[in-house]
Symmetry: C2
DNA sequence: GCCTAAGTTCAATTTTTAATGAAAATTCTG
DNA sequence: CAGAATTTTCATTAAAAATTGAACTTAGGC
């Protein structure tokens, strides 16, 4: 007969196998969640990153899932996001199957990656939109002050795109 | 007998009284909604601002509600947000009861106000949190590299707060 | 000072976004 | 290359956020 700590396949359930978060881990997560909110990044991603950030050694999938009591799906998606944005690195030891994860050394670099992917696309997408608006408004003979306002917006947006591209240059390789 | 365009109090319903949005107004709203997303501001607020921005003259409550086909509650809350962040100004003409609204001349100033209220508080709230984390971690004799990471985070945060306070100074009066 | 028009508030509802977990896909390992 | 272990995918569910509208409040006109 199976104990409650076993699934039908005999594999032990994660619950209770991993230590609950320590006080400093909880507070650090609060910090990262706040920062993530500003950037429009979801809580689960911030929690994963925070855990890795406070860990003295790289962590593997099941540890992350167990200590955060989070679903497999969320861990998988969270790690994917962090990987895609260059925020974590895989440490692959020979002889082991599972990968282990740690934060990339440069948090600054990670931030730049995030900003580039979260903010720049919106700015760039706006260029043609604003040109359209200006064309429309001109064609309909809108009030001159309105046309001037829109033109100002367009100049702003262009400068913002240029500035961002300068501050957030794409990585040389990849 | 009442027509369908009248309510029981005899006051005409707004529907059909106001022109639907023109193409350039729709596209401009898309632009402002995108920018609002970056800043974590809701769609309805962006739409109201956009409408005022594209209007050659100040607009009153009912016009805004009618042209955007938006509820009274949303218009009221949206105008409150825009007012509170110095993004719109009330034009009060003598002899009229209703106020009319227009965007403040300086969009740059408005942006600064938004950033100050949306971003700064998170940065500032983090200062004590990070100090706590550091204290906790030290007390538990966490790994030195973890302590170093957290200390670095704390220095970053402090500098971010200082820099923000510098770039986004509070208005002199009010 | 009453009455009505104008605007605000907030509980209920709708919409949007994030998390879950079972099934599918992939990847080592023997 | 079979088979198990690990991870990913994605339809479903749950949670969070935004919107609505009716009741309430406030401000002006008479």
């Amino acid at each position: 007969m199976k104990t409650p700590s076993e699934k039908s396949n005999g594999k032990p359930v994660n619950r209770k196998l991993y230590a609950p978060l320590a006080a400093h881990e909880v507070e650090l997560a609060q910090f990262f969640v706040r920062m993530a909110n500003i950037l429009g990044i979801q809580r689960s991603v911030a929690e994963i990153y925070s855990l890795l950030y406070a860990s003295p050694k790289p962590m593997e999938f099941d540890q992350i899932q167990g200590r955060l009591e989070m679903s497999k799906g969320s861990v998988s998606q969270g790690l994917k996001f962090l990987r895609d944005h260059g925020m974590i690195l895989a440490i692959k030891e020979k002889g082991t199957k599972r990968e282990r994860w740690e934060p990339t050394p440069s948090l600054a670099g990670s931030l730049v990656n995030i900003l580039r992917s979260q903010v720049l696309p919106s700015l760039e997408k706006s260029k043609p939109t604003l040109q359209n608006v200006l064309d429309f408004a001109t064609a309909r003979a809108a009030a001159p002050e309105v046309i001037e306002r829109i033109a100002r917006l367009q100049r702003w947006n262009s400068r913002a795109v240029e500035l961002s591209a300068l501050l957030l240059p794409p990585p040389a390789d990849e």
